[in-house]
Every structure is written in C-alpha cells, then in structure tokens.
C-alpha cells in the first residue's frame, strides 16, 4: 500500500520534465529541490534530536565551496615558500569531496558544540557559520573572496568517446536533484526508524532518562550532526554546479532561516514535513506571481500566509493532516479502539 504510494509519487515527480516545458519553472523546481534536501538534513537535527542549528547554512556553503574548488583546482600558499597546488578534479569526485568536507566539519562542530545544549548550542552554531563566512570573504587566495568562484564546471559523467551524460541542461539536472533527494530521504527514514533514530528521539524527549538506559548522548548527537551536515553539503555541491558561481553570500543567515521555516511549517519530527514545507515555500511565491498579484504585494501576502500557518497549525502541516485523518478514522465505524485524543486538531 505505502509502497504503491511512494511509487506513484516518484513516478509523478519523474514525469514533471515531460510536461513542464518552461525552463523558468524547471529552474524553480530545481532550486526548490536543492533547498528541500537541505531542509530534510536540518530536520534530522531539529526534528529528531531537538537541537536547533541556526548555522546550518555553513554546511551547505562548505559543500558548495569544497566541491567548486576541487573541480576548478586551486593554489594556496601554506607558508611563504610552500605552495599547495591541486589540479582540477572530475566534478563527481568534487561533489563527493564537498559532501565529505561538510560531514567532517559537522563532526568537528558536533564534538565541540554538544558540550552545551539548547540556546547555547544555537549560539555556537550561528558563530560557526559566521566564522566560515568570514573565511570565505577574507581568504581571497583560496576563495576569491567577494569576487566569487566563477565558471564552475557542470557535472558530466562518462567520456565523450563513449557514453556521456551531461547535467548542463535543466531536465537532466532536475533528475539529478530528484534522485539525490530520494537517496537522502531513504537514508533519513532508515536512520530514524532504527535504534540510532530511537536514541536521538530519546535524548530529545528526556535526556537524563536516555542516559540512564545506556544511550551515549554525545555520540548520537554527533552522528546526527555528521549525517545532517553531509546532506546539507551535497545540497550545496548540487547548488554550486548548477548556478556555477559561488560567492560568500551563500552563507547568508536568511538561507538558514528559509530552511528552518520549511521544516517548521511542514512539520518537524515528520519525514514528509520538510518536503511539504519546502514545496510550499519554494512554489508559493511563483503561484502568487501567476495570480498576477503586484510584486510589492507578493511578499506581504506570502508573509501573512506563513504567519497564519504557524498560528493555526503550530505543529506544522503534516502532523495536522495526520491528526485530521486519524480523527476521521476514529469517527467511522468498525475501527479498533480509539487512539489517543488529537490535541489541537485543525477544524
């Protein structure tokens, strides 16, 4: 039943480039997809371990920069005499490296930052993103600073002689983003339904109790951070080789906020939440434009809708829909004993 449902959903998503011919709209879908991957990764931390990382964009940016730099090659003076030069590498390898670099920085941040929790962790994560941002601005020799990394090569698989798959065109890139998103989704789903995921949820719900039954709290927080950071990194790498220019603005705080809004409006703690939130957040501005609302009004309407969602559905859209469905099931006859009351179910 659920298997059929996922086949249907994936089939529908895969058919999009066949009937969406507008490259502009495909572009919106691709960037939305990239942000959904980032939001899913944030949800692993925010939803399942309960830790708010307000520096999440740092991992996205590290993935983007690391992947772009390796594919372009670079030379850096380590000392006055010693120059570290790296020749350009294939893009697929660079993207893997970007993912790895983000995961590694997640490991480092997790090891350091999870000596504190809650608000303190939020502050550490913001500071981390700001430090990475400053490095990107000021280490001009490596990152070109505000001049940005240009002409980032697009992803190509295979060789020109044999079978070459180029991801320069938008439909191809759409499939690349879609398949990456599916892989990330599956990994997160497996994680949270395993004992590792239960350990994360346990420490979110009651940390002293979690420790008392043998859960190594720091270990599972770091694990969640590494997986989350690596996924944000792959999203960043996808972004870098799509827009093909990376500048320090990639570390803007607003991107983190965007991810948080996607997760919170869609419903943290659910697997589908960031996807639903991401689709709404990514596509709503375009829909408003299609309704021929004046540009000045679009963002105001958008903001009002967001505020209403948060006020009316504080748990997020997906949990609210689940509650609604459960309560309908309960009112129909021939179902088992009633489950627990759904608090705050929407009208």
């Amino acid at each position: 039943m659920t298997r059929w449902k996922s086949v249907l959903i994936i089939g529908f998503l895969a058919s999009i480039p066949l009937w969406v011919t507008s490259f502009y709209f495909l572009h919106i879908l691709i960037t939305t997809g990239i942000f959904i991957i980032a939001a899913m990764s944030l949800n692993l931390l925010l939803g399942f371990t309960g830790q708010l990382s307000l520096g999440h964009v740092a991992f996205f940016g590290i993935g983007a920069y690391a992947s772009a730099l390796l594919s372009l090659g670079f030379e850096v003076h380590v000392t006055n005499d010693f120059v570290l030069g790296v020749a350009p590498k294939p893009v697929w390898l660079s993207m893997l490296f970007g993912t790895f670099a983000a995961g590694l920085s997640g490991f480092a941040l997790g090891k350091i930052a999870f000596k504190v929790r809650g608000a303190y962790f939020v502050i550490v994560s913001i500071s981390f993103a700001e430090v990475v941002h400053l490095v990107a601005v000021n280490w001009v020799e490596l990152t070109q600073g505000p001049m940005a990394l240009n002409n980032i090569p697009p992803l190509k698989l295979g060789t020109p002689q044999l079978l070459e798959l180029s991801f320069l065109r938008k439909p191809a890139y759409f499939y690349l983003v879609l398949s990456t998103a599916i892989v990330c989704y599956v990994i997160i789903r497996r994680l949270v339904s395993s004992h590792a995921g239960r350990a994360m949820i346990a420490l979110r719900e009651n940390e002293p109790l979690a420790m008392s039954i043998g859960i190594d709290v720091t270990r599972y927080l770091v694990l969640a951070t590494v997986v989350s950071a690596a996924m944000a990194g792959v999203a960043g790498a996808l972004y870098a080789h799509y827009v093909r220019i990376v500048d320090p603005d990639i570390f803007l705080f607003i991107y983190t906020v965007t991810m948080v809004i996607m997760v919170v409006t869609g419903g943290k703690r659910t697997l589908a939440g960031p996807i639903v939130g991401g689709i709404i957040f990514g596509l709503l501005p375009e829909l408003l434009r299609a309704l021929a609302i004046k540009p000045e009004m679009q963002w105001i309407v958008f903001g009002v809708i967001m505020i209403f969602v948060v006020f009316l559905l504080p748990q997020g859209i997906v949990p609210a829909l689940e509650d609604w469905r459960n309560s309908r099931k309960r009112h129909s006859p021939n179902t088992g004993p009633p489950v627990q009351a759904a608090p705050g179910a929407p009208p």
């Binding site: 395993s194 004992h195 590792a196 239960r198 350990a199 009651n206 420790m211 039954i213 043998g214 627990q340």
Partner: protein, 263 residues
Amino acid sequence: MMSSVPIMLEIIELSVRFGGLMAIDNITFEVRDGELLSLIGPNGAGKTSVFNAVTGYLRPQAGTILYKGSRLSGLLPHAIAARGVVRTFQKTSLFDGQTTFNNVLMGLHLSARQRTLGIILGLPSVKEDERKLKDSAWDILRFIGLESRAHELGSALSYGEQRLLEVAIALAARPRLLLLDEPVSGMNPAEKVRFMRTLDKIRGAGATILLVEHDMRTVMGASDRIICLNHGRIIADGAPGEIQSHPEVIRAYLGERAVRAGS
C-alpha cells in the same frame, strides 16, 4: 553477616556536598549479590544523592564506588548503565510523547546490534535485529503487565501505570543491579500489592535491587536488609524487624518524645 555472598556494590567513605550542605557525609556500605536492600530516611537524608552518585549523575567530593570490584566513579551515566547498573527516577520520568511500546523499545538500546553503516544501507540484519528488539519489548510489557496499554501514549497512562512503565524501561536495559527511587509513590494500594509481586519476579530473574522508598509497608515487606540515613549519615543498618524498633530510626522519623513514649 552473610559474608559468603559476594559483594556487588561497595560504597566506601562516600561524601557529597552541595555548597555548605553535606548531603552525604562519609558513608560506607555494601550491596550483596541477589539481595534487596532498602535505603530509608526522612526527606533530605541523602538517599537520592546516593543514587545520583552511584549512577554517575553527580560527582562525589570524596569516596569510592566499586561495582563487582571495579570503579564506577568518574564514568558517565550511559557507561555505568552499560555495565549493568540501571536506575529509575524519583519524579516520573518517561518519553512522554511516545507510546508505551516505544518507551520500552527505546529502553532496549543496549540490546541493539546495529551498526550505523548497516542502517544506512538497509541491511537485512538490521531488520532482523529490529524484529528481535520488538519481540523483547513485548516480552517486557507482558512481564510488567502493561501489554494492553502498549499503544497508548506514555503521558496518557494513569500515574501508577507510568511508574510501572518506568520500571519496564529500566528492565529493558537488562540491569544486574537495579536502583529504584520511590517506585510505589503515587500507586494505589492494589497497585502496590501488584508491584510487590513484580519486584519478586524481577529478583527471581536474577537482579539485585537497591530501593529508596517512603512507603513503609512496601519497604518492610520487600527488603532483606534496610539502611536508614539521616542528615547524610547511616544511623541504622539491619533486618526489617531490627530497623522497626531501632531507637535512632524512631527518633529520626518521629522525634525525641516518641522514643521516650515507646520505651
């Protein structure tokens, strides 16, 4: 003394201080393999501090805690739990937003045999392990008598059932030494009687129990030995009968006049 029975937990000259307050003042006692030892004493006597020190939730200022001959002092709570020393909490402590079944499943953390890479790759061994864990969770729920409540949220259970669920979570961690902090507080008399039977079953399964409890009927009925604390010091140590008539114990609970009235 029953010196032939091996010592499971040894507490040697333990002191815990909160600022100027001596919560535990240089106490020494041991828990023997298989016994049920109760710690009693008025509020603030230091009972819960002993629990916190043994299970790594607070760092004692002085003293040594030995479990089966090796030091527990300095280990983190999760590492102590992994060695088989598991506690419950004085205030009801559950994974509130989870079902009863999930609460126990989370408690089975130490029994899980899953590696992160295997989880991510979706190996069949992980699914197999999940099935085993779920079977064990059902076994524990049946053992404790909460199987009919398996799909209720933890927070939706009655208070007495919540206390039972806490014990179930602790049992899921497969303790050799189980520390129960006021487990029957909030239970009605029928639930208390049932809990006493559960305690017997837990002991029958081979666990040693250290119990902190205010309910004297439970303490006197269940304990092999009782230690009475007052102001962080041990004032009496003996079988339930001895403790009941011990003048120091009566003085601690009821005051000087009660001792004179009794004698």
